[in-house]
């Protein structure tokens, strides 16, 4: 960005003292809004329920590690999805991109290049799909729903074409090892660390960078963003690239986790990611959302899944509970938004 040749009167020259702007770092904790606190409350309640119903199985270290590991894959996808939804868009193709990236990165040819080859391919395939989405939406004028629906269909198709429906086992030791207990650092699986890193970077990107500001502006009022001098189309392209990148990373995590690549990977991730973002407080119409909320949404979903599994309840009940939580979360948010 260039400045005008000679700003007539740069206001920043006469910046008044920052009276009362300085707040201690811990004030962030207290500024956490009601929504975040209520999500934390729900999560805490779930942990209590888990601890009471299945005290040994649920609170077991192995189980907690499993919960977090499972949350990592969908969590990384959700971070990308949150950005897209905040900008007023939607990405229905995330599950398909995860599947395509995971199978492309585990073909025999790719595995010849070892660890780096698999990681590189997963990320590049993710970015490539995001690029196509972004170009179609930002410069082709397509509605995000349609463009990413097309990517969903063709991505899944291509993944099936590559694998012929077979599971592609990973033979690269370095990749397999990353999922084993030996690689845990202080009891934390590397996958979970990747998830944590993506979350932190996503949070910083949304709250502390011009990229985040522009994403919110484009989602909140695209016309105003354009008339404020923001390149709305380029911003939209970047957002779908970001979502694709997150899918590529998630695909790699999934490869590590399952030791394989399958064309059925990432099934219905799009719905889980959207649901997690929504219960986390992201407006589906754009202009508002938080990474913290989305990540808490993911953790809530995965924890429910875990508790139900431990209590030997059917998947059907589990899905009904998920649906109920989405409805409850949105109703509560509407209540807090109006008061």
């Amino acid at each position: 960005m260039t400045q005008p040749a000679s700003p007539a009167r740069p206001v920043t020259d006469k910046i008044p003292p920052a009276d009362g702007d300085k707040s201690p770092w811990w004030s962030v904790v207290f500024r956490a809004d009601l929504r975040t606190l209520s999500l934390l409350g729900v999560l805490a309640a779930l942990v209590v329920i888990g601890g009471v119903t299945e005290p040994e199985a649920f609170l077991d270290t192995d189980n907690l590690q499993l919960v977090l590991t499972q949350a990592s894959v969908i969590g990384v996808v959700t971070v990308g999805m949150t950005f897209v939804i905040i900008s007023g868009g939607i990405d229905l193709s995330v599950g398909a991109i995860v599947a395509l990236a995971s199978v492309w990165a585990t073909t025999v040819a790719t595995q010849d290049y070892g660890f780096a080859g698999i990681l590189f391919t997963a990320v590049v395939v993710g970015l490539g799909c995001g690029l196509v989405n972004g170009l179609l939406i930002a410069y082709g004028g397509m509605v995000p729903f349609i463009a990413t629906l097309a990517m969903l269909a063709s991505g899944r198709g291509l993944a099936l074409e590559i694998t012929d429906g077979k599971t592609q086992m990973v033979t690269v030791d370095g990749v397999l090892k990353l999922g084993e207990r030996d690689s845990y650092i202080l009891g934390i699986p590397p996958l979970v660390m990747v998830f944590a890193a993506v979350t932190v970077v996503g949070w910083l990107l949304l709250n502390r960078t011009t990229f985040g500001r522009r994403s919110v502006a484009v989602g909140g009022n695209p016309e105003a963003a354009r008339l404020a001098g923001i390149d709305v189309r380029r911003q939209r392209l970047y957002l779908y690239l970001l979502s694709g990148l997150c899918c590529g990373i998630a695909a790699f995590l999934l490869i590590v986790l399952s030791g394989s690549g399958q064309n059925t990977n990432g099934n219905l991730y799009e719905l889980d990611a959207i649901a997690a973002a929504i219960i986390g407080g992201t407006l589906l119409s754009g202009g508002r959302g938080t990474i913290t909320g989305s990540v808490l949404g993911v953790l809530i979903f995965i924890t429910i899944q875990n508790i139900f599994a431990l209590n030997n309840l059917e998947t059907a009940v589990q899905q009904i509970a998920k649906g109920a939580i989405i409805v409850a979360a949105v109703l509560v948010q509407r209540r807090t938004a109006t008061t």
């Binding site: 400045q3 005008p4 007539a8 920043t12 502006a217 354009r226 001098g229 390149d231």
Partner: protein, 530 residues
């Protein structure tokens, strides 16, 4: 007037929305069998008033008396039951349903309470359409396949499918050809002859003269004239009521240099526009703007004022001509090029085109100058807040806390937030489109002072306003526009309100239209990556 009690008496209606008082004690009296015209500029409160009458908005205060009884219109259905039907400008038809289904939507003739008697509905729809002079419309056709004029007829048939005593028509002629307008007038005549009252909203003054009985003029949420005789009141008096001032302002003084012509050579123009034109919107325009100068564009809505501003700003692509800033030609149709060169626009529709309503004042102010307090994309939020605070204090924006959400501000302070955005950017040419629209009357004088001070400090300002006194009071030089042409240019002190109204109204065959151009803002997208 008529001895019988009025059909409808609305008195002292008030209605506020966050940030603005839309209706400030409006009276409206309608007799049975009359055509009552409702006039006013965009934003005067007409839409709010008819929505109150239609039961779509609940008034904050005031009284509605219908046929002698005080009533509360809780919902559109309640209004409909009393016999008040409204035909909105944006027709509220369901395109995927047939004509008959639309006409009887919500009150379908049924058997056993829920089986729609489609044949009956079609038959009575055909009869209604015939009465409206459009028997050729097939009741079974999909509404989506009809022309705009035919859809309007369907909308009217729907109104008549109820037992109506009062029909509100919001700019019914806007989408119609001349002979369709004649048919519309015939229908209105039939209705009133049958004792039905029509509240008719139009910007076309000659129509009002043709079919109107009485006129009520709204301005700034108040009725400035109630029940004027439509045929006898001179056009210029009506326009003066709509565009004039009911409160006298003291406008800030012009600096001596501009006022007296100055001894020293005038500064080089910062903005120069040469032959800029857009087909069908405005004719080739030449304009120079010097630092410290306020130039006003005076003209009625539809004279091309807003289009000119948006084209200079790059939000619309010109069909001819160019815009230069400091002698350098701007890329046509690129907002980003304009912003980078130092232009700023405060658009007419503040909420839709300028503000991020969910965000704080700070973020609304900083959005165009992120590079000023970010390093490699990393925002220094302390610096951002300080900069926003400096800019908003400069304009005495209230409350003096840029962290509050922008939607909680009053209209005038929201406008200041937009101005602060460009101030912070280091903008050198400010394009103001109706800067006091939606700003409470009392807060306007302060905004005028702010605008004049910015000019005194070296900004060049191009001002568009529907209010002639505003242009005359604030601008140094005035360009008078009529139907896309500049018909007169003069220093503001050489003009007065009457002179400008004469110039604006000196009509050719078209007569004055105050029609708002239907086009939304801008069709060109922002510039691609640069």
């Amino acid at each position: 007037m008529a001895p019988e009690p009025p059909l409808l008496t609305m008195s002292g209606i008030t209605k506020s929305f966050p940030g603005v008082r839309a209706l400030d004690g409006v009276d409206l009296h309608v007799q049975a069998g009359e055509v009552h015209c409702l006039l006013g500029q965009n934003g005067a409160g007409k839409s709010t008033l008819i929505k109150v009458l239609a039961g779509a908005h609940q008034p904050d205060g005031g009284k509605i008396v219908w046929r002698g009884d005080e009533v509360t219109l809780r919902s559109p259905i309640a209004a409909m039951r009393l016999g008040i039907a409204t035909i909105y400008q944006e027709l509220d038809l369901v395109e995927g349903l047939s004509v008959a289904e639309n006409v009887y939507l919500g009150h379908e003739p049924t058997s056993a309470g829920f089986v729609v008697r489609g044949r009956d509905a079609r038959a009575s729809t055909a009869a209604l359409l015939k009465r409206l002079g459009h028997g050729e419309i097939d009741p079974a056709r999909l509404v989506g396949n009809l022309s705009a004029a035919q859809q309007q007829i369907v909308s009217m048939a729907r109104a008549l499918s109820h037992e109506v005593r009062l029909i509100v028509m919001d700019e019914p002629s806007a989408a119609l050809d001349p002979d369709e307008v004649d048919n519309l007038f015939r229908i209105v005549g039939d209705l009133t002859a049958g004792g039905v009252a029509v509240v008719y909203i139009s910007h076309r003054l000659e129509e009002i003269r043709r079919i109107g009985d009485r006129v009520t003029v709204l301005k700034d949420g108040r009725a400035v004239a109630v029940g004027l005789p439509a045929k006898e009141t001179p056009t210029r008096e009506v326009i003066a009521l709509m565009t004039g001032r009911n409160v006298e302002y003291v406008f800030p003084e012009r600096p001596m240099a501009v006022e007296s012509g100055a001894d020293a050579a005038p500064p080089e123009p910062v903005l120069s526009v040469q032959g800029l034109a857009r087909d069908g919107e405005f004719a080739p325009l030449d304009l120079e703007l010097r630092p410290g100068e306020i130039v006003g564009l005076a003209g009625l809505v539809g004279s091309g004022r807003s289009e000119i501003l948006e084209t200079i700003f790059g939000a619309r692509k010109p069909t001819a001509g160019q815009v230069r800033v400091d002698g350098r030609v701007l890329r046509p149709g690129s907002v980003r090029a304009a912003v980078r060169a130092g232009l700023g626009l405060a658009p007419e529709e503040r909420k839709a085109q300028a503000l991020l309503m969910l965000e704080s004042v700070t973020r609304n102010v900083s959005v165009s100058s992120m590079s000023r307090f970010s390093y490699g994309g990393w925002v220094d939020r302390g610096k951002e807040l300080q900069a926003a605070r400096a800019a908003t204090r400069e304009l005495s924006l209230r409350p003096d806390n840029p962290s509050v959400p922008v939607r909680t501000l009053s209209g005038g302070n929201q406008q200041k937030a937009v101005l602060a955005r460009w101030l912070l950017r280091g903008c050198r040419v400010l394009l103001l489109d109706e800067p006091t629209r939606g700003v409470d009357v009392g807060a306007r004088a302060e905004l005028y002072t702010v605008i004049r001070r910015l000019a005194d400090e070296g900004l060049a300002v191009l001002l568009v306003s529907s209010e002639v006194p505003e242009v005359l009071g604030l601008a140094d030089r005035v360009l008078v526009l009529r139907e896309g042409h500049v018909v007169h240019t003069a220093p503001a002190r050489d003009l007065d309100e009457h002179r400008v109204l004469d110039l604006v109204l000196a009509s050719g065959q078209h007569g004055p239209t105050l029609t708002k151009s239907p086009s939304g803002p801008a069709t060109t997208e922002g510039s691609p990556a640069s």
